[in-house]
Assembly symmetry: C2
Homo-oligomer: 404 residues x 2
Amino acid sequence: MFKINENYQKLPGSYLFSTIAKKVAAFTAANPDASVIRLGIGDVTQPIAPAMVQAMHKAIDEMADAATFHGYAPDLGYDFLRRAIVANDYEPKNCGISEDEIFVSDGAKSDSGNIQEIFDADCKIAVTDPVYPVYVDSNVMAGRCGEYDPDTQTWSNVIYMPCVRENGFVPEFPKKTPDLIYLCLPNNPTGTTIKKEQLQSWVDYANRVGAVIIYDAAYEAYISQVDVAHSIYECEGAKSCAIEIRSFSKNAGFTGVRLGFTVVPKELKCADVSLNAMWARRHGTKYNGAPYIIQRAGEAVYSKEGKAQVKEQVAYYMNNAKTIKDGLVSAGYEVYGGVDAPYIWLKTPKQMDSWQFFDYLLENANVVGTPGSGFGPSGEGYFRLTAFGSYENTVAALKRIQSL
Amino acid sequence: MFKINENYQKLPGSYLFSTIAKKVAAFTAANPDASVIRLGIGDVTQPIAPAMVQAMHKAIDEMADAATFHGYAPDLGYDFLRRAIVANDYEPKNCGISEDEIFVSDGAKSDSGNIQEIFDADCKIAVTDPVYPVYVDSNVMAGRCGEYDPDTQTWSNVIYMPCVRENGFVPEFPKKTPDLIYLCLPNNPTGTTIKKEQLQSWVDYANRVGAVIIYDAAYEAYISQVDVAHSIYECEGAKSCAIEIRSFSKNAGFTGVRLGFTVVPKELKCADVSLNAMWARRHGTKYNGAPYIIQRAGEAVYSKEGKAQVKEQVAYYMNNAKTIKDGLVSAGYEVYGGVDAPYIWLKTPKQMDSWQFFDYLLENANVVGTPGSGFGPSGEGYFRLTAFGSYENTVAALKRIQSL
């Protein structure tokens, strides 16, 4: 009789966004006239910009003609896209990353969930707390996390690095030595980030203890400060200890288009085994490439017009972030993030816990956000608002919050 | 110090298609005037048909407008596509499959590689020999296959079911009891298939021994005989023992468009645990949905125009299959497949082994095919040609082979 992967049974229900959806549905059913504004989920709302739209139309016409039709894509992604990535994201910062270190994929979520596969089942992972749930859940599925304690909401075999106002949301080196360190910077959910010199100290730490940093840079396009690294490969020595995951979702609005890439440097090795070769093998065995049409859209993100258009879109969302941040500050809230990331992380007022504040905000301002405790125990007492709404809705939401 | 997944080190090099590419490159370098015809890789050549092209253009225009923009897709796929799948692929055959049993993905390769994750690491797999390499390789990566013996080209912990002319390429129930049985029908690479009553006996066997059948139906659109099942769910009892994987690559020419789906029936359980719920959890954690644009193209495959156009495309390739088959038979070859599948499986003549015949065909007819031994030890002495070329090239290739 076949048996299942019992690790799946250990996972607590993924109730965060479904609980939110249920609460919102119940509220709107009871208050049909309420105009609810959703600043909860990190999904973009602005349409795909013209350069990418044009590139996709053109690619579809190519697919409609036998002479220019494209079948299976190269495993690692088309040369035209990998060249554009290297030329625009890595060469200007002298990262020393080459095209055969770029693996194009259908998005950062897939890659950040799958990357753990190439590591040993006994590797110990370290994550920030709060954290994007995919890092932990994918390792639970692989049996790396031990047992879940519902009281503390932690896993017995995971190293947590609390990020709270007391440490400025900067993770500290853990006491136990990890094998894999997940860092998402700028951070989801806190919206905060660290300086390049702090990131350099993490690279030095990883090289010293023999750990690999899984660096999720999905929000790098939102960085506004000059002393913050856009890529971990701006740090010396990162190529021997770091894998970087990038997304087109949050800079080019590709959440529904699906495109991302992962960088696995050839210098990254375990004894003589190249992790670049391992990831290539994984890609070649379990994946068949991103659609030609979508890879052409990715290429257009790096065209002159595309760059100007996505810059404008990021500026639009960052103006929302400023609107939220300034509005909350003027209403007396304690607020973090929103400078280098499209997320605002606020301290809940009046000793409310995260879910109490969720209910309070929904009922009194008809605004939906995300309770910080949903991202981990250290998120308790915090609340996330996203800058991905329309400007009009964002302004309206803040007016309501200010008049509470 | 971090450690790698050592199972990857056990994998022999994936040299089949790269070896072929190198041999072809060397030949064309030495013979620059030779016009090489490629009937090796199973990639389509006909352009995307108008209904799907039109649907994608429309979807892109929707993505270009904030009022009709689509962000993250639902985890399981859009309702419009899952409804079309159920209404067209399952309801007409009374399979009793519902929309919440359909999981839309970026293709059958990803799904057939990932599906093993939800099973225990100790599950024993059974595969046909020859076989599509992804089934075995993905299980090797998960540590299920034991050790590789380069002499026999087999894994110590895999049950092989030889499919050769002596058994009509029909797998027999294995002596050892498997937990997971991979069946690709119609088959890649042999191009053969089994009757519905034979498939029913496999379903009965799986239910009797408590095994799960991973049923790869990527080539179902090519079935021409009436007593062959298009879906395993046409067999009684299949919903308690079978997962079906489908592809749009070979019916609608989507190899470069990327779309597929997997059916995990709610009846399929291990004790009380629903595999449908497990696969939903996997999908929700490590995947973010197929692109909206591509899902609209999938919907168009089921439109009246789309159905007529993909039927025409399949007929085009099957006419190639007939051309190859008839041409080889008239040249005295022993030939299998090509009736319910776009692959022709021929016995190599004059005691040549698979690679000798490869060289012979390349050098003397300038035609590229795939050596059967690349698909497993029982493929030795066979050779695969695909029907996915253009009609003109297919006719030309056969003329050359006939005049050898």
